[in-house]
Amino acid sequence: MRKRFGETVAVDGISLDIRGGELLILIGGSGSGKTTTLRMINRLIDPDEGSIAINGIDTQTIDGIVLRKNIGYVIQQIGLFPHMTIRENIGLLPTIEGWSREEIESRVAALLTLVHLPPDQFMDRYPKELSGGQQQRVGLARALVMNPPLLLMDEPFGALDPLLRRQLQDEFIGIKEDIGKTIVFVTHDINEAFRLGDRIAIMHEGRIVQIGTPRDLILNPADAMVSDLVGSDRLFEHIASLTVSDMMVPASSIISGDLPVQSAIEVMIQSRSTVAVVRERAASFSVLLLSTLLQRRDEVKTVLEATDPPFFLSMDVSLLSALEEMKAASVSLGLVMDDGEPAGLLLPDDLISRLV
């Protein structure tokens, strides 16, 4: 799926690719153009310049009504119709499209089950009889009724209290896995963005400042605004989304096992490293602490005798689980391997200073 945006007053020269099946967050303050961008996707607003294509088809060539019937749309105010029951609200589009009563009934029941509302309890109630959270679930069910491949959500959880918002986010993560749709999600809440987004596009004054995965944004913020927004200087807040490779120290020098002790000490001091990786044989590695080497410099003849057996970690393991494993094994040093070669070292002591 490919989309390009031209200019409007609110959105100033945006170009954006949305990938099939991803949840893309558009985040920014008010007036950043995020909602305008969203509403251009289903042609509630037409761009003054530029074009939007879905699966290679320019949306300008599709009738707006037909397009919107095939794109789910959920808004913060929900907008359920108060004079219709939940069944009628969800079943409105199928009714217009001429589905049979049984088809509508079973579709509505399936959707209510999906959003965790027992159909027999909720089908025939009116929106006013439901709580805000329940109404928003019905809003989601209604948006999914025609089984659209693309879902647009404009701050759907923005009006809910924090506790309920969190609960609905958790549920939504599960529903998202079930339905496997491409979702564009507007929010101004960075925590929500991190919880839900596969990728996050940060918008400011009608432009996209940066787009990337949560980790991209945290580790490589494009500017001070992004860094401030995502809290790059408070990495510990994001510890749950970091992996071993984000926090390892690259293995700059690999020492050969047969290097004389004195040369090894010189190499390590010169490169200011307290730990080194030692290659014992072709594909066999161990780790060497400078302190150990200095202590035992007189008893050992080769570097090999002063090495410790390595604790192996892989690159893409989450940082937290790696630390737990290391704690369980009582080791203070992890050797990170990538494709059979040492890629770096994970040093919990050094980690703390980098996180805070």
Partner: protein
């Protein structure tokens, strides 16, 4: 013989009032819908409707004569001029005062303008439309008495003839059925209102 003398004016009165009322509904609701989409039409319709209300009913009835003469149809026109206002105004207010979130979500779902009117705006406007039609029905009923002066026949003829001939019985034979019809209209519209209007869960237990 006596009953025929009374039944014919009652029948004439009802035909007169209801024909005018139905024409007012048939005219008023579409005009109100069109006024949603045209600012110009909205201004024209609202100005005319308000103007019509400012002019005394007797003057409305009188002004019709030099324009289209006397008889049944001029009387219908006079009643419509009176009954149209509450219908148009209430319908327009009902249609345009829908919660913007409902319109936004209806547009987002992919409803066409007409589908939004049919499934969202009209149901929201029903209570207001109903109140307007009820008021228009009662207006039509009273104007239909006055139009006897321009040859519409009906109960008004009995009232005016009774007044002119100081015949109290004749006057009352016109006035009492007219009052009866008005009370019946009010009661039946209230009943229909309760029966037909969609409930929205506020009405509590049911």
């Amino acid at each position: 013989m006596a009953s025929n003398l009374l039944l014919t004016p009652i029948f004439q009165h009802i035909v007169l009032a209801y024909t005018a009322l139905f024409l007012s509904i048939a005219l008023g609701i579409p005009l109100a819908i069109l006024a949603l989409y045209s600012r110009t039409l909205q201004r024209i319709v609202m100005t005319l409707s308000n103007l019509m209300q400012a002019v005394p009913t007797l003057a409305v009835v009188a002004i019709v004569v030099p324009l289209i003469g006397i008889g049944f149809w001029p009387a219908i026109v006079a009643i419509i001029l009176r009954a149209l206002l509450p219908i148009i105004k209430n319908t327009w207010i009902g249609l345009s005062s829908v919660d913007p979130a409902q319109i936004a979500s209806a547009e987002g779902l992919g409803l066409s303008e007409w589908e939004i009117i049919r499934y969202v705006r009209l149901p929201n406007a029903y209570p207001a439309i109903f109140a307007g039609v009820k008021f228009a029905a009662i207006l039509a009923n009273s104007v239909a008495i006055l139009t006897a002066m321009i040859g519409s026949g009906g109960l008004g003829s009995l009232v005016f003839e009774g007044l002119a001939g100081v015949n109290m019985m004749k006057m009352l034979s016109g006035a009492l059925p007219a009052i009866g019809i008005a009370l019946f209209l009010d009661a039946s519209f209230s009943w229909m209102e309760r029966r037909l209007l969609p409930r929205s869960g506020e009405s509590g237990l049911e």
